[in-house]
Amino acid sequence: MEEINNKKNSMHLGTYFEKYGMLLLLLVLFVICSLITPVFLKPGNLLNIARQISIIGIVSIGMTLVILTGGIDLSVGPILACGALLVAGLKEYGIVAAFVGPLIFGLCAGLLNGTVITKFKVQPFIVTLGAMSIYTGLGLTYSKGHPIIGTPEMLRFIGQGKVFGVIPFQAILFISVAIIIAIILKYTPFGRYTYAIGGNPEASKLSGINVDRVTIYIYGLSGLLAGFAGIIMATHLNVGEARLGTGMEMDAIAAAVIGGTSLKGGSGTIFGTVIGILVIGILSNLLNLINVPSYAQMIFKGLIIVVATVLQGLHDKKSV
């Protein structure tokens, strides 16, 4: 019977690692960074990082949801950009329009993605790739290729505000979104369905889950979050532009994957994604702080993304 007890311990250790391995990784990164440059740990710098990751962080959370269902959403960048354009473009119609417009746009764009994916059974990659092209075109058409300058005064706190004069409001929004979505995923039927669909769509359907509906909602949520990120981006920079989201989809996917989400669907956590986005954010920050030349930055970033993923996956592999 001792073995069984042993086993229990090792299991606890396993779970422990699974949960805290990523935190450990982050901690190591923290220590390394602060050894390399003392500036890193300055509160100002840490708050900067918090701000820098907030927008992409919110997008990554939506992306994580989509990836959990076994899908992918390449259209988040253009949706974000269109959202930002709308904030600036709708300002003359009042702040409600400027705030709600981007959200509705993002939501509808996402629901549309989801609907095409489920109803026509097209691979998410191709639908959202097409959507990426379409929304970019729409954004450029709407703005005629020029930036739309200025956002409503009253909304600007969203992107520029600081709570207690120091903490970026953006970061608070990011954390709130992360917590809300994490709770939904963990404690509601909808969240459970998200995992189930990604794990086995066939079995999910036969268990009475309305797979199509949940999938559509998930893409809608991803779009909504991208639209929301667009509001933050626009109010932060006080401008809307059709290219604001370029390349964001890759960063968001990378954050999710570094955080342990499987692109096959069905496994991953918001917590992991937050860690993933922190790893990316801290890394960029460090490379800038120590003034690594831009070509070398690319090489480093690539290396570290892979290494971080290897490290965070190691415990997982051992237990298999």
């Binding site: 100002g44 020029h146 920079l237 059709a242 290219r243 920050n285 800038n288 003034n291």
Partner: protein
Amino acid sequence: GGSQDSSSDTEEEQIVIGLSQEGLDHPFMVTQREQIMDAASKYPNVSVIATDGQNSVVKQVAGIEDMLSQGIDLLMVQASKAEGLKQKLTEVHEQGIPFMFVGKPISGTEAVTMVSMDNLDLGHTIGEYIVEVLTDRNGAPKGNIVMLEGIPGDQTSEDRIGGAKEILADYPDIKIIAQVAGEYRRPEAFNVMQDILQANPEGTIDFVYACNGEMALGVIQALKDAGRLGEMPVVGLDGQKEELDAIKAGELMATWLYKPAGYEGFDAAMKILNGEEVEEFIIIPGQRIDAENVDVSEPAF
């Protein structure tokens, strides 16, 4: 002129001009195209067909080929990946179709003319300006400067930054303490500048040079956010409308107009089509805009 298969019995010969631009997602390129279209609209017998390369040399080449299929009398090109197009342009030349550059110069081709500003030259000018400002500021040509490049490897960025560095190379006391990529974009520039500000406390940066307007605006916002606006001079390059506003507000020290060459380019094109002589390089002079002349200046786009 006359495209290969155009019928010649119309009163005035129809002239087709092809316009190939590297992309259309930047106000510079958009404005340039608008200018060319606008200029062409005054000639009923001239039509312009346009393609854009969506920031990929491969797509730009394909676009040129597709325009050749339709038959064009002259090709106007604006490219960042200059070298990549050379081969195709030689072919265009061999087919007897004249081509010219607008907006960005590319040397070493059979182009009839280039109508544009000169990035390398602007880089030099800015280098000299930096020396001047630092001398004013610190009593001698010394100080720490920060440079924001665009997309690493992009020709425009290489020239704008490289030109300045060529000048600065003669001044060993001017140190480039950071040269990072802001991807030509405001949010990236904001983030990068935030990091640089953390690494370099107050009083350690004497100058910031962002090689385009969007990045300069991002830098200013980062300075504002850090409460360090006014601590160091910032210059940009492009002369977009918001930069001029920033100069008026005293946030940006100067910028250089990098004007789209649409109108000038179209004039040159018409000359070529009419068989007139044109210069090999029609340089649109760069113009510095600072607090002194900002009120009387028009933005580049």
